[in-house]
C-alpha cells in the first residue's frame, strides 16, 4: 500500500516536472523565434514570396500525376517543364526590351512628348494663351513636378555623347531617325517651369563629386550583392516546398496533442482551402483584368508588346485593391502621352484621343472586374470590409513599402480565416 502511494507521488512529481519542462521549452522557443524574426526580418519577404509561389504551384503538382514515376522525379520533371516555359517567356520578353540605342531614343521621346503635352495643357506654346490665370495656376502647381521628372529623365553628358554617336550610326546599329534628333535638340532648350530659389546642391569640386560617384557605385554594387544573397532564399524555399510530399504537415500534426488531432487536421484543411481559393481566385482575377487591358490597348492601336507589358503590370498591381486601378491608369496614361504613330484597329477612332481611350478602357476593365470577374472567380471566398482593406493597405505600405501593400490583403485574409475557422472548430469540438 505504502509502495503504491510512493509510486503515485513519484508519478505526480514527474507530471509537474514535465509541465515545467514543457512550459520552459515553449517560452524559450517563443523567445528564440521573436529574436530570429527581429534579426532576420530582411529574409522574411523572400521566404514569404518563395512559400507563396510554392503554394500557387501545389495544385499543378497535385494534378501532374504519373503513376509509375517517383514523387521526386515527378516534381523534377515538372520543374524542368516550368523552367523551359519560363526560359522561353524570358527570351521572348528580352527581345522586346529596348537595347541601349532604343533606351536613349525612348528617353528623348518621353521628355519631348511629356513637355509638349504639358505646354499644350498650360498654353505656353500658344502666344495668345500665355499668361492666363489657369496657366499660371497649373505652372505653379505642376511645374515643380515636371521639373523633377525632367531632371530624372534628362540625358547626362555621357549619354548625350552616346546619343550623338548613334545619330551617325554606332556599334553596327542604323543611325537614329531625324525626328528623334529634332526631339533631342528641342529637349536641350526645355525651360525650367519653376524659379530656382536655391543654389544647386551639386556645386562642388569635380574631384569630390567623382569620388562620391565611385563610392556610390560601390555602395550600389554591395547592395545588389546583398539583395542577391537574400533573394536566393526565395527559389530555394520554392524548390524545397515543391519537393514536400506532406512531410511538413505530418510533422506539424505530429506535434499536436491527441485531444486536438482531428480538430487541427480540420482547421489546417479549411484554412488551406480558404486561403488557396482566395489566392488562386485573386491571381485569376488579376490575369483577367490584365488580359482585358492588353486586348483593349491593342485594339486602340498600342503596339502588341507594349500593350502586353502594360497589361501584365496593371494585372499584377490589380491585386492591391483601390490603388491597383489607379496605378494601371497612370501606367496607361504615361504611355498614351508619349505614344506616336498610333493606328487604332477599331475604325473611327481618333489616334489623338489615345488618353481618353485609355481612361475609358481602364474604367471598363474596372467595371468588368467588379461586376463579373471578382464575383465569378472569387465568389464569397473572403469578405473584407472596405475600411479594413484601406487600413491594411496603408499599414502594409508603412511596414513594407510596395511589397507590404501587395501582401497586406493576403495577410489579413490568412489571419481572418485562421481566427474564424479556429473558433468555429473549437466550438464544434466542444473545447470552448
Amino acid at each position: 500500500m505504502k509502495r503504491r502511494a510512493t509510486l503515485e507521488e513519484q508519478e505526480a512529481e514527474r507530471k509537474v516536472r514535465r509541465r515545467i519542462f514543457k512550459s520552459g521549452f515553449w517560452v524559450l522557443t517563443l523567445l528564440a523565434a521573436v529574436f530570429l524574426l527581429w534579426k532576420l526580418s530582411s529574409l522574411l519577404l523572400p521566404m514569404v514570396v518563395g512559400a507563396f509561389m510554392a503554394y500557387l504551384f501545389r495544385p499543378l503538382k497535385d494534378r501532374f500525376q504519373i503513376p509509375w514515376l517517383h514523387h521526386e522525379l515527378r516534381v523534377l520533371t515538372l520543374f524542368a517543364v516550368i523552367g523551359c516555359a519560363l526560359f522561353m517567356t524570358g527570351n521572348t520578353v528580352r527581345r522586346h526590351i529596348p537595347d541601349e540605342r532604343e533606351k536613349l531614343e525612348l528617353k528623348v521621346r518621353i521628355k519631348y512628348k511629356m513637355n509638349e503635352k504639358f505646354q499644350e495643357l498650360v498654353g505656353t506654346n500658344d502666344k495668345q494663351k500665355r499668361g492666363g490665370v489657369v496657366a499660371q495656376v497649373l505652372i505653379k502647381e505642376l511645374g515643380p513636378m515636371m521639373d523633377k521628372i525632367n531632371k530624372f529623365i534628362d540625358l547626362p553628358p555621357e549619354e548625350q555623347e552616346l546619343f550623338m554617336k548613334y545619330r551617325t550610326g554606332h556599334a553596327g546599329q542604323p543611325p537614329i531617325e531625324d525626328r528623334f534628333f529634332d526631339y533631342f535638340q528641342a529637349n536641350q532648350t526645355t525651360s525650367v517651369y519653376t524659379v530656382q530659389d536655391r543654389e544647386p546642391a551639386s556645386v562642388r569640386p569635380e574631384h569630390e563629386s567623382m569620388a562620391n560617384v565611385g563610392q556610390g557605385a560601390n555602395v550600389a554594387q554591395s547592395s545588389h550583392h546583398e539583395d542577391f544573397t537574400i533573394w536566393i532564399i526565395a527559389p530555394l524555399i520554392f524548390i524545397f516546398l515543391g519537393f514536400d510530399n506532406g512531410q511538413i504537415r505530418r510533422y506539424i500534426i505530429g506535434l499536436v496533442p491527441n485531444r486536438y488531432f482531428e480538430l487541427s487536421l480540420t482547421v489546417m484543411d479549411e484554412l488551406d482551402d480558404a486561403i488557396g481559393r482566395y489566392l488562386r481566385g485573386t491571381l485569376m482575377e488579376c490575369a483577367l483584368v490584365g488580359a482585358t487591358l492588353a486586348i483593349g490597348f491593342i485594339l486602340v492601336g498600342i503596339p502588341v508588346s507594349i500593350a502586353i507589358a502594360i497589361g501584365v503590370v496593371s494585372g499584377l498591381v490589380n491585386a492591391i485593391p483601390f490603388l491597383g486601378t489607379v496605378i494601371g491608369l497612370i501606367i496607361g496614361l504615361a504611355y498614351a502621352l508619349v505614344a506616336e504613330n498610333v493606328t487604332p484597329l477599331i475604325p473611327g477612332l481618333n489616334p489623338n484621343d489615345l488618353t481618353v481611350y485609355v481612361c475609358i478602357l481602364v474604367f471598363i476593365a474596372h467595371m468588368l472586374d467588379n461586376a463579373i470577374y471578382a464575383p465569378i472567380v472569387l465568389g464569397k471566398a473572403v469578405n473584407l470590409h472596405p475600411l479594413v482593406v484601406a487600413l491594411a493597405i496603408v499599414s502594409g505600405s508603412l511596414l513594407g513599402g510596395a511589397w507590404g501593400m501587395l501582401f497586406a490583403i493576403p495577410t489579413v485574409v490568412v489571419v481572418k480565416t485562421a481566427v474564424e475557422t479556429l473558433f468555429k472548430e473549437l466550438k464544434d469540438y466542444r473545447i470552448i
Binding site: D62, Q65, P67, W68, L69, R250, G254, N258, L265, R430
Partner: protein, 179 residues
C-alpha cells in the same frame, strides 16, 4: 496492370524489402495489407495510402474521440486495445473492445456527422489515422485507389446494415412468438 506499373511496383517493393527491412515504412505497408479496407489495393497503391496516414499513440484511458464530436478520420489499431463506448443518461456502456488490426470511426470518411460513440484507449495503443479530406483528395490524384477504398467502405457499411437488419428482424420475431 500495365507493364510500367508492374515494373514500378516490383521495383518499389523489392527496394523497400532490400533497404528498409525493418523500417516503419515497411511495417506500415505490411500492416495495411492485412486490413480489409485495403485488401484490394496493390503495393503501389498501399504505398500511396501509407503516405497519407498519420501515426498516433494513445496512453491508457485516453480518449481517441468523443461521442457527439464531428468525425474527421478513420482509425486502424496497429497495437493495443480500444474500447468503443456509448454514453447515455449518465451511464456508459461498452459496445465492443477492438484489438490490433481492427478499425473504427469509418463513418467519418463519408460525412461530418457527429461520432455515434466514444473510443477510449485501453493501455498504450498505436493507431494509424486516415483523414477524410486526404481520401477525398485521392479521388482527384489517384481515382483508382480511392475507388477501391470507397468500394471496401461501402461493402463494410452494407455488411453492418445487413447484420443490423437481421438483429432487428430476429428481435421482432421473438416479440411475435412471445406474444
Amino acid at each position: 496492370m500495365s507493364v510500367r506499373k508492374f515494373v514500378a511496383e516490383k521495383l518499389l517493393w523489392e527496394t523497400l524489402k532490400r533497404w528498409k527491412k525493418s523500417s516503419p515504412e515497411l511495417d506500415r505497408l505490411t500492416f495495411l495489407k492485412t486490413v480489409p479496407f485495403f485488401n484490394e489495393l496493390s503495393n503501389w497503391q498501399l504505398h500511396k495510402v501509407s503516405g497519407v496516414v498519420f501515426d498516433r499513440t494513445y496512453e491508457a484511458g485516453e480518449l481517441i474521440f468523443e461521442q457527439g464530436q464531428p468525425g474527421a478520420a478513420l482509425f486502424l489499431i496497429t497495437e493495443g486495445q480500444v474500447s468503443v463506448e456509448i454514453y447515455k443518461d449518465h451511464f456508459t456502456a461498452t459496445l465492443a473492445v477492438l484489438e490490433q488490426g481492427a478499425f473504427f470511426g469509418e463513418m467519418a470518411l463519408l460525412d461530418e456527422s457527429p461520432r455515434s460513440a466514444s473510443a477510449r484507449s485501453l493501455g498504450t495503443t498505436r493507431t494509424l489515422a486516415l483523414y477524410r479530406n486526404d481520401l477525398t483528395r485521392l479521388i482527384h490524384t489517384d481515382p483508382e485507389t480511392a475507388s477501391h477504398i470507397f468500394r471496401a467502405l461501402a461493402r463494410i457499411v452494407g455488411d453492418r446494415l445487413r447484420s443490423t437488419n437481421e438483429l432487428v428482424q430476429g428481435a421482432n420475431l421473438d416479440e411475435k412468438i412471445s406474444a
